[in-house]
């Protein structure tokens, strides 16, 4: 902004903006770290928006490329451009906006008179540049008088790349519905089990349930975009955890195994995605982009799925269905439900569901040997490690991602109590 002759006033407010479809379409067009780098830079999928209270706004990609800029209209924007010179001046102004001005060409321009000044608006096309073949970069630049007021870049994906990602995302959203139905039925089952426990005066843990529900609701309020979801989750989980002691067949918790299993499952995910890429398929390297960037957000998004889903899928479902299909049968029933809750788009679409199935089966094994508590720790550790790649570079992010590993290390080193 200073280069444009404007001194911004006040402490700016910064917010994160992520374009999930664009980010994954770039990864689809250039699989592996190359696509991730494009999403953070030239692709403009992950950006910070910086707004100055005294006027002016900038969008910067997380790799530091200025994506768009708008400054207030100055009272004296300089002399109007002479029509025969306007084109050359506007083309020269592109150098302020992009690092490779020679690659850009003017495709359309318009000018009009408003507020005592002549305004110029021009559209440029930059070819694919560092983007994959078939993609296109565009730039819109605006001047008043002889002052550049704003520019805004955009990216045109190749229809196939965008279509594959957007289509798969829509399909997975649809496939999530049966899983949500399964969870709803499970909650009804827990409700009936709770009624039975009260009627038969069985041993329940109401205080533990309330505490767990409060923690879940508190963490959920950071992770969820709608605040109504967190209290509902808190109430449901409070009920589930309160009823858990009724099911005496559930394996005893052995927390020290959980985080180690989580690290192993994160490794399985990375290997699984590499196998999908290596066998000619496609799966994104990064996890879904968070709606907001913050250390608390990473912490909440990693641990809320663990706190919410594990007691239901590894505790309530096996306990309710074990009398009919046995513990392993019930645990494996939970796998398809869990697998449909959070898969990322892939080609073929069944590849990522299959990978999620493997992870869910792994969590079932963890729950068998480490109980529901161990499964919660394993899932939280796993989610934090896998989601770390979607967040910016920084030691505070690393610390949050490694929280589960640290807890696991302490638990492993903690002296065992003699029986």
């Amino acid at each position: 902004m200073e280069r444009l002759g404007y001194q911004p006033i006040g402490e700016p407010a910064a917010g994160f903006e992520g374009d999930q479809e664009l980010a994954w379409a770039l990864e689809r067009a250039r699989p592996g770290p190359g696509g991730v780098g494009l999403a953070r830079g030239e692709g403009g999928a992950l950006r910070w928006r910086v707004v100055f209270p005294g006027g002016g706004e900038v969008q910067v990609t997380v790799d530091g490329l200025v994506w768009s800029l708008r400054r207030p209209v100055p009272s004296a924007p300089g002399p109007d451009l002479f029509p025969s010179l306007a084109r050359a001046r506007v083309e020269a102004a592109v150098a302020a906006a992009v690092p490779d001005p020679a690659a850009w060409r003017l495709v359309r321009a318009q000018s009009w008179r408003e507020g005592g000044h002549t305004w110029e608006r021009a559209w440029f096309v930059g070819g694919p540049g560092p983007l994959p073949s078939g993609w296109r970069r565009e730039l819109e630049l605006e001047m008043a008088g002889s002052t550049v007021l704003s520019w805004r870049r955009s990216v045109h994906p190749l229809g196939t790349d965008l279509g594959v990602v957007t289509g798969r995302m829509a399909e997975l959203r649809l496939l999530r519905r049966p899983a949500m139905l399964g969870l709803a039925i499970l909650v009804v089952g827990v409700l009936v089990a709770g009624a039975e426990a009260v009627a038969y005066r069985e041993s329940v843990a109401p205080m533990r349930g309330i505490a767990y529900g409060l923690v879940t609701a508190f963490a959920g309020s950071f992770a969820a975009d709608s605040l109504t979801a967190a209290p509902v989750q808190g109430v449901v989980l409070a009920l589930v955890v309160a009823v858990l002691p009724v099911w005496t067949d559930l394996p005893r918790p052995r927390l020290r195994l959980g985080p180690a299993a989580g690290v192993a499952l994160a490794g399985v995910t990375l290997v699984g995605r590499a196998v999908i890429l290596g066998t000619g398929g496609w799966a994104p390297v990064t996890s879904p982009v968070a709606a907001d960037m913050g250390v608390g957000r990473l912490l909440a998004e990693s641990w809320v799925p663990a706190l919410v889903e594990e007691p239901l899928l590894r505790g309530a479902l096996p306990a309710l269905a074990a009398p009919v299909v046995g513990w392993w049968g019930a645990a494996l029933l939970a796998a398809p439900v869990g697998a449909l809750l959070h898969p990322v788009p892939s080609v073929p679409v069944l590849a990522s569901i299959g990978l999620e199935l493997v992870l869910q089966a792994g969590l079932a094994v963890v729950a068998r040997f480490a109980g529901v508590g161990g499964a919660v720790l394993a899932r939280g550790t796993y989610e934090a490690l896998v989601r770390r790649a979607s967040f910016p570079v920084g030691s505070e992010w690393d610390r949050v991602a490694l929280l589960g590993v640290a807890v696991g290390t302490i638990l492993l080193l903690w002296p065992r109590r003699r029986e």
């Binding site: 955009s154 965008l162 957007t166 829509a170 049966p178 899983a179 009919v324």
Partner: protein, 416 residues
Amino acid sequence: MAAPTRVKLLAGGAMAVAVAATALLLTIPPRGVAAPESPDVAADRAERELPALGVPWGKVRGWERVRDGWTVSWQPAHGMWLVRAWVPDGPRAIRWRIEAASWLPGVRLSARAARALVGPEFGLLQPRERLGRRDWLVSDTRLLGALPAGGDLPADPYRRQVGLEAMLMGLLVAGAAVRHLVPGSASRGWRHALSWAGLVLLPLMPWLAALARPVFQAGVRPWVAELAFGGAATILLGALLFAARRFPAIAGTPPVAWLAAAVAAGVLAGRLEPGGWLVSVAGLPLRLPALASIAVIAGWLAGLAADGLRELLRFTVASRPVVLAALAVGSVMFAGSWLAVAVAIVAAAAVERGQGTWITTAVVWGWVIGSLLALAEWEAGLRDAFVLLLVGAGVVAVTTLASLRAGSPPGEEAQA
């Protein structure tokens, strides 16, 4: 046979004849417009009369009865677009609509199309390229550039009865708790019946998906939509089979005349308040097993709710008949499309526990028949309604004979 039982049978028989005569002979205007032709015929007509729209339509994926016509959906295997047409009964014009995935390059709105949409009076149109679409700025407004083509299709206003649905859910949970906390002699027959109904429905899933129109969306491949529907249905059926084991119906059979009266009441309820979606089921190629299975499952669920209601009314020993009568009148007046289910639950709550599931299933079975009689006017639909009636009568006859051979008339087993 004891004299009181004979009196009950005679009263039930007389009531059954009266209700059946009312249900079948009276001219009752149903709520909803009867379909004179099947959805297949409507789809053929649309394919014959509508323009090709420049794209292959793909296969017929689903249909739905809307007002006085059929809304039929077509989608190719790649799923990039979805063609829907509302085919009215009679010779009126067909209305159609095509929706395409927003990311398809072909759905970007051209300047010419944008000008045609906003009108010629606006001068400057500024394009804004978005991810997968092109918007146009027109003075202070914005025209979103990925538009479906064709007109709007008619839709039935969906009237949810949230209070009643919540009450039914509560009764189901109460029924489950009652069957577990106050167990009786579990009926193996009902468990098997529910298992068979589920097993019959499972292979029918590819066809049943045709009834789940909202799952078919532009940009989603139809096999994924069918998988989502099949997955949800399988989870639901699995939960039902689990519930049949965990919360089994109690053994017992009601007097045959009561069953006949229940079926007749169901037919009457179906003719008064037909299930609109049942006419869509009647458009399936394998409709008979589907309809029969749906009736058994819905009847079993209503029986579960009836057990909950019966137990909740236990504290009103003296005024129980009055409360039940009030609930029955309330059901007829306010239950709307849930009329048959509400009547079935109230009727079953009035009889012994072992007879409840029989009564609810009979009412729901009759409701299916009544709905088809009211709404499906094509030959196959009417024929299937009568076949279902015969099947129901056959089941009742076989059950009665089996009970008589066992030495006790139906209705006495549960009272013993």
